[in-house]
């Protein structure tokens, strides 16, 4: 069953140069118990998307169109009080930097209990017992619950944050780069912990990251975002195995894979466009080796192949040669951006 549905969502930030169209017509859904990964480079709008769902956009940001349906109710139409009822109880979050998300002057126990008190009528004792239980769940010593955030290491803080996100057994967790600040061992521990706990309370998750490997291992479906729009969306296995958007193909080659010796790394030349005055047509065109005139003039159509939704004019060329050549640097030197940078 569909839990969260985002339809043609537009989010703008007002700036002195005009509105920045950070999220521009994004549509996707998350089913119950499903893990969705959102990948893309900085500035592609992935964090804005999460902030819009949580209703925590910056002051100059607002939803300029579209809807966000949670169990059929539109979050964008809700009052603050209605939203607060749902937040943490149904939709919770794991922020990127636990250091900044935790209040330094309260103990961990007080902070987690506060979330419980806001939604449930329980005694101090019960809330406290719940904190102990949560700490054990995430692999922390319950005795440490009375410590302050600064007494925790980075990995422990992130685990405490996960405990807090799970406190009310939410239906969906939005995790924004949950492990980016941590080293590999800690990342592995945290990801394993999250997926085990998710199975236990059967919650969905939307995980936002630029680390393609993390998404490959934890998500059922993946959305690849580029410059505020969806470039490609589909089952994780298909998107990693046989992507049809030139951007997804390029992203795959830009990552060193520990299991691949002598891999030739490929970088996609150029930068994403400014989103104050986004270019017409396909936003990736400048950086795309397949770009033709039609890409600069018309919005890319939605093409479905093997369960993937791809927004590109030239999906038909991917299988006829492009995929094989995509791990060669020459391929990417054909792009307009590369010609402009080098000469």
């Amino acid at each position: 069953m569909t839990l969260l549905e985002v339809n043609d969502l537009r989010v703008h930030y007002e700036t002195s140069e005009g509105p920045v169209q950070a999220v521009d017509g994004v549509t996707f859904s998350i089913d119950e118990g499903e893990n969705l990964g959102i990948v893309g480079e900085s500035g592609c709008g992935k964090t804005t998307l999460a902030d819009a769902i949580l209703g925590i956009l910056e002051d100059n940001g607002h939803v300029a169109g579209g809807e966000i349906l949670f169990r059929g109710e539109d979050l964008t139409e809700m009052s603050g009080a209605e939203r607060r009822r749902i937040m943490w109880e149904e939709i919770s979050m794991i922020p990127q930097s636990a250091m900044n998300a935790l209040d330094p002057v309260y103990t961990m126990r007080d902070q987690i209990a506060e979330a419980i008190f806001a939604h449930r009528t329980t005694s101090n004792k019960e809330a406290s017992a719940r904190v102990d239980e949560l700490f054990e769940l995430v692999g922390l010593d319950p005795e440490r619950a009375d410590d302050y955030p600064h007494q925790f290491s980075g990995g422990m803080r992130q685990r405490a944050m996960i405990a807090m996100a799970l406190a009310l057994e939410p239906a969906i967790i939005l995790a924004d780069e949950p492990t980016t600040a941590l080293d590999v061992i800690m990342q592995d521990q945290i990801l394993k912990r999250i997926s085990a706990l998710q199975d236990e309370i059967n919650s969905s998750m939307m995980i936002i990251t630029h680390d393609v490997s993390v998404v490959a291992e934890t998500c059922d479906r993946v959305v690849v975002m580029y410059a505020g729009k969806i470039a490609e969306e589909g089952p994780a296995e298909t998107i990693f195995d046989k992507p049809y958007h030139p951007y997804s193909v390029g992203l795959k080659g830009a990552f060193p894979n520990i299991r691949k010796p002598n891999q030739d790394l490929v970088s996609i030349p150029g930068h994403p466009p400014e989103l104050v005055n986004p270019p017409t047509g396909c936003r990736f065109a400048d950086r795309c080796p397949l770009a033709t005139d039609v890409c600069y003039n018309e919005d890319p159509p939605e093409v479905t192949t093997n369960g993937l939704r791809t927004f590109c004019h030239h999906t038909d060329q991917i299988d006829s040669g492009f995929r094989e050549g995509s791990d060669k640097r020459e391929t990417w030197e054909r792009t307009k951006a590369a010609r402009e940078v080098t000469r």
Binding site: V184, M186, D188, Q189, H210, A216, F240, A254, F255
Partner: protein, 371 residues
């Protein structure tokens, strides 16, 4: 350049860098009360054993990766190699000269020859200086001519073209990737022989990463540099390095050719580290060894093997009491070294003879005695 003091002797077969039992301890400042109680108890001050006996060699043109979790001492090792810290023990020989003893012209020559690239280009560049000022300063210090041409060439090499366009820019006018390129250009402007790169791409976005990595690869190839890369990202180190040293709590636990260490890790910690790296392919399942807990306390170093509490293959008393030396093992290739009691020493060292007979004494450094 010919009238400059150069380091090292001509024609010697010294490796570029020879590190022997290098140590770097930091004194812990625990406050007045603690220092008084320590004095009453007759204890000395506490030390963080950040780097605790590290030995390796780096040949000219070779690239070495230092890997390990946060707090394993990899950054301290790198900073000590670049002489940003003074080692508290052991020696570091650069082109045959002990860098701790360098003075005057020789020290200046070393500073010219060894450079560092830092992790965060947002903090490593002075916000009040233009790109040109940043790059020309080392040339002024070392009194090298042709400054504008050198700065331009360095920027161009780093992919900032046309270089003149970047001369008057301030760091805040540059993107993260461009900033890291400026940092790399600054390191290269003096034509160094040796570079320490501390997590050179971990602060950069995915799309920029591959570009900067390509630049670093070209730097190795074209300048023939020797580079020490510091990172916890083994996929990256596999891509960049000839050799790999896996560090744990201030010590190297495994050392050897990169490909072989990653394909066939021997030390239980290396196994866990390799298996913790996610793979960007959902169909490739990996064997996930759960490594519990965190790196131990670097102040009160445990006796015996430092990894024993988290080790899957713990074999008892010998792990508890005898610190395993990093050495060649009988069943492992002779160009690899492993510091673990699971494997038999190739030069006949028997750690069981070092197990203390009474329960009172603890052999903290039996290892070094046997090297």
């Amino acid at each position: 350049m010919s009238d400059r003091v150069s380091l090292g002797k001509e024609g010697s077969d010294e490796p570029l860098l020879r590190v022997e039992e290098m140590e770097k301890f930091f004194q812990v400042d625990t406050g007045l009360v603690n220092s008084i109680t320590n004095k009453i108890r007759g204890d000395g001050p506490d030390f963080v054993h950040a780097v605790d006996g590290v030995s390796f060699e780096l040949a000219e043109g070779e690239t070495l990766g230092l890997a390990g979790e946060s707090g394993c001492g990899k950054t301290t090792t790198g900073m000590t190699l670049a002489k940003l810290y003074e080692p508290t023990g052991g020696t570091v020989h650069y082109k045959g000269e002990d860098i701790t003893q360098l003075e005057g012209a020789k020290l200046k020559a070393f500073r010219r020859s060894a450079q560092m690239i830092f992790q965060d280009p947002f903090e490593s560049l002075n916000p009040k200086r233009t790109v040109y000022d940043t790059l020309v300063e080392p040339l002024q210090i070392h009194d090298i001519g042709n400054q504008t041409a050198r700065v331009a060439r360095s920027l161009e090499f780093a992919g900032l073209t046309p270089p003149e366009k970047f001369f008057d820019r301030y760091p805040h006018e540059l993107s993260g990737g461009q900033r890291q390129r400026v940092a790399i250009a600054r390191a290269l402007v003096l034509d160094p022989d040796f570079i320490v790169a501390d997590e050179p791409v971990s602060m950069l976005d995915v799309s920029l990463r591959a570009g900067v990595l390509q630049l670093l690869e070209r730097m190795n190839d074209e300048y023939g540099l020797s580079v020490v890369y510091i990172s916890h990202d083994l996929s990256l180190l596999r891509h960049m390095c000839d050799k790999l040293a896996i560090m744990y709590l201030g010590r190297i636990v495994e050392y050897g050719p990169t490909d072989r260490i990653i394909e066939d890790p021997k030390h239980p910690y290396t196994k866990a580290l390799v298996n913790a790296v996610p793979v960007p392919d959902p169909k490739l399942g990996r064997e996930r060894v759960e490594l519990q807990g965190e790196v131990g306390d670097a102040i009160n170093i445990p006796s015996g093997c430092r990894f024993k509490d988290r080790c899957e293959d713990y074999i008892g008393e010998v792990c508890d009491t005898v610190s395993p030396p990093l050495e060649v093992k009988t069943e492992i290739d002779s160009d690899r070294q492993v510091g673990c009691h699971l494997y038999e020493s190739a030069d006949g060292y028997d750690p069981y003879t070092d197990i203390p007979t009474s329960d009172s004494s603890v052999t903290e450094d039996s290892a070094s005695a046997d090297d």
